[in-house]
Symmetry: D2
Subunit: 349 residues, 4 copies
């Protein structure tokens, strides 16, 4: 079948390539003509504008947007004016599912189908395929199923879940119609919320291993922390690159994120050059807000989000308040206190 | 080579079987004669007591203990009296690494080598192999390397980490000498701490998906929670079994724990019959305590542990205190308050 | 001056009484005629409807709403149709500050001033006075300052903050103009978010004290938890009612919430009859969502909110998932495992 | 009665002064002769060594140690050799309660009573009195009760808890015999654990208020955070010094820690000169470890401890791991990503 692709960044371009490899036709557009050019060389039909893309395609059209979430609203609006009833507009980017709910309702009035697709796979997706979480009306999702099959990883070499047999279900091929409009991005949002938690679990654990030599370093230990108790139990100089490689084989926590961690630590064991200021995209935040809305406790997911905030010093004023309080009630000055020999003066808090 | 195996529960028996499959000899003992019998049928030499096991083996001996952590101290003590200098005692169970540090020092005085091995792999280990985290003196670890290779998964079908080439390193075969005595169980402890965090991330995320229909259920919603705001955004009836299956293919969070989750939800989508009282073994606790000792922040790992405590109602008194406070300051009674129509009375906190 | 009071629940009625005690006139209305009657006996002028209340008052009017947040929107709408330019509408309830921002903008178009006031004080406010956090345009806030002074606690017996001298600032009298529309309820929202955190800190700490006898109770200890290590250090039978009373005098954590805790525990030391299902009103949730929006880490405030969710079993599905995972990877069954004597079988995770 | 005071830092000296003000006799010693001198001027009897202090006092002696926890063990040992059966040794410092349990058992063998006292009060204790949490044998605690009464705040101006009447209980005078040896420091430990949580609740809440102008600052907003959504709701320029002053009057969260916060913010509204590297003493750590031991969930107390660790960059390696992972799976580079205009490339996670 024919599909339009708007947005030819790394992900959009690679998705288009997977679609073409499966034998479908792609009409492509990007604000950057060079990106269009590159895809045309790979066999796509190029378009110089959204209008040209729409006019080039035959009805009913299916157009996949793969653009930054901040731009999606405007492009949807522009395309809505160009499309005809029966056409399908697909948002494969990282939109907030709430925007899907609103956009789907608005487009429905004009007879245009709206499908939201959460896409996971990262830089490896071209070869591995992309995991697709789909929301939207049954009819539209069914119409684009060949495209979903082309993009998804398929069965791959993942062992079949015990108890499943017969024909492969869509979720076993790597795509799933999760529910009505918004459901795709909702599931993707939670996916990313989980991802934050899993990443944090590994990061915290590796940080313990990295500091398992605290008893050796004790002599140089900053006086601003409480003195290390039982230093004899923290005498390990652990090689975190080797450990993360080890865990990839046979351990309960083997996972793709661990594969990546092992690769990163092998390439750069001391993680030199990384400041550890960890960005966050919207999904982790939306996940926590959704959980709060519906009253579901998510201490782990929230903690993993807050760690990222703190990594960027967003906890600064809070920490200053704590230091200021400590000065007030205990006369604690914010500096190494270990050298204060004055008996009994120190910790009256 | 020859190895003694003490403790023939599921894990000990399966490890012995993997060792024999690799062509080594096993002398086995368990308090339960039937367990010994079963291994003898598989080719092992049985022993009726620890003393018999020791006398049956030739020097220098290597004896692997695979027994509950609570019993290890006594058995080590008993074996210490039976073994000779140069023998190697291996604790492959779930001991606290601090016990390793103490036991190794004590046995060293008698010339006995002590090796601690953290073992991960669960019920699938017989076929998949076990991931082995090893602590102890170089000489002793080198001596048992053939056994470690027999038990470990080997290279398997895990893709090689980019940048690694040449001969496979031990960690690429599934075992690693992590450091001196205690290092093996220390790394295993942190492994389990991470496991708790990863499990919690999945559990919390799936709980959000399970409750994404809160807007549909709003009518029956308990009055004791704040009323759901923006119910229109929580209208999704998500199939968590299908979603967890989906994520196994191509998504960033694909992992063995996800495989197990998909299997569990496929077999029992509503998780009927599970009360959700989640046990914890020692490792999760020791991980948090170690982090506190060395001053490493582990909000995610700690939260995942505390969730388990709370799942068993260990938060009861705290919650009663909160209810009691609320009664005091706001006249809040602990019951549905939504039916109180009295204007303005409700939330003066 | 004259003020209208709509909503004569406990808080509305008591606020009206404090206003009248200060020599001002109150015109009052409630859907419940008996509530109006009670205030009339105390000297207020009663009204049988919003329209009557408005027509009874002279221009420019100032009308204070003290009604459940869910009803505020409708009443504001109705009053907007009855009021005249220059009138002041005050929302003293627990509205979301976002509603204030919207309502203020809408009313401004009609020339009506809107003032949002967060009110803290609970059941003790009639005698103690209410702490008032005020948002709105300067002119309107200035106009109602005599009323704010009547309701607020005034200087009271609170020691003056070191460095402050001269005439008392408004915040030293218990009211503060925090900023434009919404600022009052925003500050009140954060106040309640802090309150959740403080309450949780006390509740968790008291729970530790309550269980400081775990070493004594060890024999009956449930097998589903890890065995208590070092039971000799948990042999304390602490009287939490006495301890909370003690801390009221001279300790760093003396506070009004501690006063209430001491009162609650003195009246009911075992907290009999409290199920510990802790409700939450909107403010705690809004606080966490606001922090997420602006990227401020609030692990403590969020944890205190999630504890309340969990106290109502909103963590049920997550915990079931955890139990299901454990069954899968370790063959752990969800029941006491301590009686399993099978060697080595137990914890292969 | 007569009491010996060892350690004349700020707290030891002030406690000695309160004792003398109440009419008791103090024999004092400190390693710093000037500190002894100062107390002698205030009426104490000075001693030049522990031996001289012991020989100066009449039997049975009661000696109060107010020295850094790290030195207590040695001094107890030295004094044990000097004291006679029936003497009482009091540790009023910040010892770990576990040390009390051990020391009390050891001293009991020599007939010496050991009393552990947790002391709260900080720099204000001289005037306000100190809150005393006492552990030890009944006989010894009874013997020193006059001293406890002298040091404790007494009834003060704290309102009596409803339901209490008749003679004041010890806890209403500011001291309490909490249980056997260790109970005093155990209760003090939990007190400090709670303190950490309460402090964090205030600090986090004030951080939200401080950043309530995020919508105004949005233009300069770092690209490394997700773009602020709904900036119109974060337009508040809140004066945190005034708000903390306000809350002292009539609000639910009025407390001594709030008094201190208001004082600190009044003196230094922007908290200039504070780096926000927050120290922690041992009690917060011991509290979390005790909770973990007995299986009590303390997410809030633990989070408040971990925030302090993170404030000192102890989360560095964890954050580097997160950045490294993000580079791997999404090609995210650790720098402002907002300027990347490439369509669709950005967030494939």
């Amino acid at each position: 079948m024919e599909i339009g692709m708007v947005g030819l960044g790394r992900m959009g371009a690679n998705i288009a390539r997977r679609i073409m490899r499966a034998g479908h036709d792609c009409v492509v557009y990007d604000v950057n003509p060079a990106s269009v050019e590159a895809l045309v060389e790979d066999g796509a039909t190029g378009a110089g504008s959204l209008a040209e893309l729409v006019s080039t395609m035959s009805s009913p059209r299916a157009i996949w947007l793969m653009i930054p979430a901040g731009l999606t609203g405007g492009v949807v609006e522009e395309l809505a004016g160009l499309l005809a009833p029966g056409d399908i507009l697909i948002d494969g980017g990282n939109s907030n599912y709430r925007d899907d709910v609103r956009r789907a309702a608005s487009l429905k009035d004009r007879g245009i189908h709206y499908v939201d697709i959460g896409t996971s796979g990262g830089v490896f997706g071209l070869e591995r395929g992309y995991c697709l979480m789909v929301g939207g009306p049954d009819e539209a999702v069914a119409a684009i199923e060949p495209i979903l099959q082309a993009i998804a990883p398929g069965e791959g070499d993942v062992a079949r879940t015990p108890g499943r047999d017969g024909e492969l279900a869509p979720e076993e091929r790597g795509y799933l119609h999760c529910g009505p409009s918004g459901a795709g991005h909702f599931v993707k949002m939670v996916h990313n919320g989980i991802e934050y938690g899993v990443m944090a679990a590994f990061a915290e654990g590796l940080n313990i291993l990295e500091n398992a030599d605290a008893g050796i370093r004790e002599a140089e230990h900053s006086a601003e922390v409480a003195p290390l108790e039982e230093a004899e139990f923290y005498q390990f100089d652990i090689d975190t690159a080797k450990v993360s490689e080890l865990w990839r084989r046979g351990s309960v926590i083997s996972s793709w994120l661990l594969d990546l961690t092992a690769a990163a630590l092998h390439a750069n064991p001391a993680l030199d050059g990384l400041a550890g200021r960890v960005s966050d995209s919207g999904e982790g935040r939306w996940t926590v807000k959704a959980a709060v809305d519906i009253g579901v406790p998510v201490p782990v997911l929230a903690a993993s989000l807050f760690e990222r905030f703190a990594s960027r010093d967003e906890d600064r004023f809070a920490n200053q308040v704590l230091s200021a309080m400590r000065q007030q009630f205990g006369g604690h000055v914010e500096r190494p206190v270990g050298d204060v020999l004055e008996a009994g003066a120190r910790k009256a808090d």
